[in-house]
């Protein structure tokens, strides 16, 4: 009565090349569902596919946009993955990004006519510090009070957004700006250098790539990375080996806060050029999806970040060219992660249908 008609057994000895199956399957499903939804809104399926997945590569400017959006996703996802591997669930990337944007805006707002070489480094230091402090609240509450970091970081996201709304409509508002809720424009010294002319792509991509290299080293080669991973996979073994859970919590959240804070600085010092009510189209949440889609593996995350960036840019293009609502973008991010998790079953486990029960007949024969 309690038998399922199938059995699920773990694949031993690693999944090998089949690790690629899950992300590829998830991306394919997302491509198809994206086209299906968009065409159900009155756009022909081929045009829908074009807007969502081809147009982002069709011009230099659009491709620059893809890489521009890859940078923050990459940066945040690499940091989050470090925590996720240790089973520390920092889902507060969005709030930490917002705090980074606020911290990074202070210097260019209050020293608006400065052309100091120290402007950008100062902004980066302040932004990262603010992001880390925001994450530190969750780390401290987890370590000191055992408070669940998922709920705390989520609440901190909502509070960060309200803090931003307050600042841009009050203390940090441009007093000559007709009451628009935004700060003054940043001076040139506060802007990231562009990488390719004719695009908005800036140096943040290089930092994202550097973070990838750093994450690879951290995971594959460093003792701290190893300790974190053991803590996530086998907490009792980690405790027995003397790896401190407290350190793991602090480290995971501080790295996440610093990376997201940096991504926040890059938004205001890059495409935005000022502090506004909207500093991120949800990079902090999307980075969670990127981290999982990349299999929590630094190299996998690189590809996942590009794909999610394509969805962002494709969604923008579909919106402006065909009036497809932005919500489709959000749905596709959800579909991507849902189908990835579903596909993982077939990579991590062997699923077999059970042979139907022959019990009764065997019994009958025995009686004869």
């Amino acid at each position: 009565m309690t038998r399922t008609p199938w059995t699920i057994e773990p694949r031993l000895g690693g999944a090998g090349r089949s690790v690629l199956i899950a992300p590829v399957a998830a991306m394919s499903v997302t491509v198809l569902i994206g086209a299906a939804i968009t065409s159900s809104l009155g756009v022909s399926p081929l045009r829908a596919l074009y807007f969502l997945y081809i147009a982002p590569f069709s011009t230099l400017f659009n491709f620059g946009e893809v890489l521009l959006k890859t940078a923050p996703l990459l940066l945040i996802a690499q940091a989050l993955a470090i925590g996720f591997r240790a089973k520390i669930w920092n889902v507060g990337g969005e709030g930490q990004l917002i705090l980074g944007a606020i911290g990074g805006s202070l210097l260019p707002i209050f020293f608006n006519d400065s052309d100091s070489m120290l402007m950008l480094p100062g902004m980066i230091a302040l932004g990262m510090t603010c992001g880390m402090l925001w994450a530190a609240i969750a780390a401290w509450l987890r370590v000191r009070f055992n408070a669940n970091e998922i709920l705390v970081t989520l609440m901190l996201n909502s509070i960060a957004l309200q803090l931003l709304y307050y600042l841009v409509s009050g203390p940090l508002r441009d007093s000559t700006g007709y009451n628009f809720p935004q700060s003054v424009q940043f001076p040139d010294s506060a802007m990231l250098p562009l990488l390719i002319t004719g695009t908005r792509l800036n140096a943040s991509l290089l930092v994202g790539l550097a973070a990838t290299a750093f994450a690879w080293f951290f995971v594959e080669r460093s003792m701290i990375g190893y300790k974190l991973e053991v803590g996530g996979a086998a907490p009792n073994a980690a405790r027995y080996a003397g790896f401190s859970e407290t350190h793991a919590v602090w480290l995971s959240l501080l790295i996440g806060g610093a990376a997201a804070g940096l991504a926040g600085v890059f938004e205001v010092a890059g495409p935005l050029g000022q502090l506004q009510r909207v500093v991120s189209p949800g990079y902090g949440f999307a980075a969670i999806i990127v981290a999982f889609l990349g299999g929590l593996n630094p190299l996998g995350i690189l590809f996942a970040a590009v794909f999610v960036a394509v969805i962002f840019v494709g969604g923008d293009i579909s919106q402006t060219s065909a009036g497809v609502p932005y919500a489709v973008n959000t749905i596709l991010q959800g579909v991507l992660l849902v189908s990835y998790i579903a596909a993982r079953l077939f990579v991590d486990y062997r699923v077999r249908l059970r042979a139907p029960l022959r019990f009764e007949r065997a019994q009958l024969q025995w009686r004869h």
């Binding site: 009565m1 059995t7 699920i8 509450l141 989520l154 609440m155 309200q162 969670i288 919500a327 998790i341």
Partner: protein
């Protein structure tokens, strides 16, 4: 006196959706499944109910369809975590994002539209009592149903076989399987119930309290719901107490404004989130209390033994 009536009435209206959804989440967590997609499910329930009411004017049909819409999303979540062995945290976030996106897309044509509020059901005699009459006994039926469901669930968990099987599944799925119950079916039904309740909670917000639809209407209440279950130490009666305390906290901010204290509106909006953090911290401080009360298998993947 007017103020007291306002406080009582505002408290129960703010608390009702939190309580309804939290009781659903409680059932799911008691069976061992942590469902983090409540926010998305409430959004979907809210928009589905709103569209039904806007087009048909039938409020109870709206409540029902809201519940069913969220339950369908819960079914997707349940399939992923129960049959496809998905990590419950990641799956919950994923389905939650999906639900929020679907709600925004479906609700796009109705953005900022309004409906007349769901008709209230004044309780005879009691609703004529001074102060508390209008404060507590002149509301829509769901407001009285929420605490009744809490009592019912308290009784089910405490005294019935259904409650016992549900709790056993959350405490030790292997044992429950061994004595002949189907763990996956018990959990599947618990998650569906949780989804249905989240949908009704969302419906309450869109057609009875806010009486409008806009993207972001749920505004983090789904996460407060998850926190309430921790706050209530996985007991129906304490979850209910927590929901009304939170309802009172949200009303407190309106009171502060009404007596003319100058506080930035953004700070007032943040009050429930801050209160949630403080509550989680204070209540988690006693690690033993959490360990004793949390279902042992909560959040763990269960793979059937052979």
């Amino acid at each position: 006196m007017e103020t007291l009536t306002f406080v009582l009435s505002g408290t129960v209206i703010a608390a009702t959706p939190l309580l309804i959804a939290a009781l659903g989440e409680l059932a799911a967590e008691k069976s061992g499944v942590l469902n983090l997609s409540i926010e998305g499910m409430m959004s979907l329930g809210a928009v589905a109910a709103f569209i039904v009411v806007k087009n048909t004017g039938d409020y109870w049909l709206g409540v029902f369809i809201g519940g069913v819409a969220a339950m369908l999303l819960a079914a997707l979540f349940a399939v992923i975590v129960l049959f496809l062995l998905g990590n419950q945290v990641a799956s919950g976030l994923a389905v939650g994002i999906l639900g929020g996106g679907m709600a925004a897309l479906i609700g796009k044509p109705y953005e900022s539209a309004t409906v007349p509020p769901m008709p209230s059901f004044p309780i005879p005699i009691l609703s004529h009592a001074p102060v508390i009459g209008r404060g507590l006994f002149d509301h829509v039926l769901l407001v009285y149903m929420a605490p009744a469901i809490a009592v019912l669930m308290w009784w089910i968990f405490k005294s019935t076989k259904v409650g016992l099987v549900l709790r056993a599944t959350g405490e030790s799925p292997e044992t429950t399987h061994a004595i002949g119950y189907n763990v996956l079916v018990v959990r599947f039904l618990s998650v569906l119930f949780g989804g249905f309740m989240a949908g009704i909670a969302g419906a309450f917000i869109s057609i009875a309290s806010a009486t409008l639809w806009s993207d972001g209407l749920i505004a983090g209440r789904g996460w407060i719901v998850v926190a309430l279950v921790v706050f209530g130490a996985w007991r129906a009666e304490r979850v209910a107490l927590g929901a009304y305390l939170f309802g009172a906290a949200t009303i407190g901010q309106l009171l502060v404004q009404s007596i003319g204290v100058e506080v930035p509106s953004q700070l007032l909006t943040s009050v429930p989130y801050i209160a949630t953090i403080v509550a989680i911290a204070l209540l988690s401080m006693d690690g033993k209390r959490i360990r004793l009360n949390a279902p042992v298998s909560l959040g763990r993947v269960y793979r059937e033994a052979h």
